[in-house]
Symmetry: C2
Subunit: 197 residues, 2 copies
Amino acid sequence: MELVEATWRIIARRGIEGATMREIATEAGFANGALKPYFPTKDDLLSFAFAHVFNQTNARIGTVSGGLKGLAALRSFCHEILPLDAERLNEARIAIAYWQRALTDPEKAALHDRSMEQWRRELFGRLREARDAGELKGGLEDDDVVGGIMTFVLGAQITATLSPSHHSPEQLRSQLESYISLLAASGAPGAVEGRTK
Amino acid sequence: MELVEATWRIIARRGIEGATMREIATEAGFANGALKPYFPTKDDLLSFAFAHVFNQTNARIGTVSGGLKGLAALRSFCHEILPLDAERLNEARIAIAYWQRALTDPEKAALHDRSMEQWRRELFGRLREARDAGELKGGLEDDDVVGGIMTFVLGAQITATLSPSHHSPEQLRSQLESYISLLAASGAPGAVEGRTK
């Protein structure tokens, strides 16, 4: 939605408390009051901003992982969620604001749940492909790996925005590679970044 | 500080927007206005609440890891940060509210930075002990492991509060064990939970 596309980065930059609806509208180039019919409150706007960045992330995942499978696809998936550039750092700032509100707002929590379920399903599918291709070492529980990756990619929204000197794009990629190489059977094709691209 | 001890759980439960200073004071059993001289704004109270839960976590870590070293100490350290019980779930809710404010408040960001540095130093020390004791497999970069664990334990504050059906205490412990067993040299004493306790 055009209004959301025009406003989410303003919210990301200023914080959800940092601007009034009037200021957000003005800064986005809309007439004062233009947002009100669609987003009666900033909380509504934040929910749409979260859905927008979630969809935008998924569109990128679809693009970069076309043709990839198994560990290579899992890596691409994580790269699009990890805050590895300015756009994704802005997305992280929306996620953090959204989480805080979701703690006390059941509707926001439900949307978050459905969104994360979609990511979990994708991860389980990629792990299955990886196992079928002989890329994974034995003895791993999918639940542990999927749960661990979900926790890592969500945690990276925090560490990348608040501890950037230790969680730069290069460092986050390296942390991910370290984990993937621990999961991989020795000599697996997707175990080393770029090998199957 | 007594006022913080009496109020942080109220903030955790109701959210930082969910109550006025007056309501927080009343619910904590103080006279209306009692908080004001110490915490002029809710934002001040939130900073003290964050510092309080950070110190409380560190006090627990000190207690449980007395006498432990290497991977066993690293495990205990993570257990006290992971939201594995009601008290630590409340702590997670304070952390999430605090992160959101820290995105646009340099003082809050600086306190977060100092706090996380303290945890990073502890993790580097535990890894060194683990390596010296022959508990770690070869080829691991400490930067990757420390960065990965920090990202995981912070991410768990989100997944435990917002996706509890996939990140219950048992599941979080299992995710951590899965990772520790991937780090460990085969047969290392601290590789299996409880082995060195």
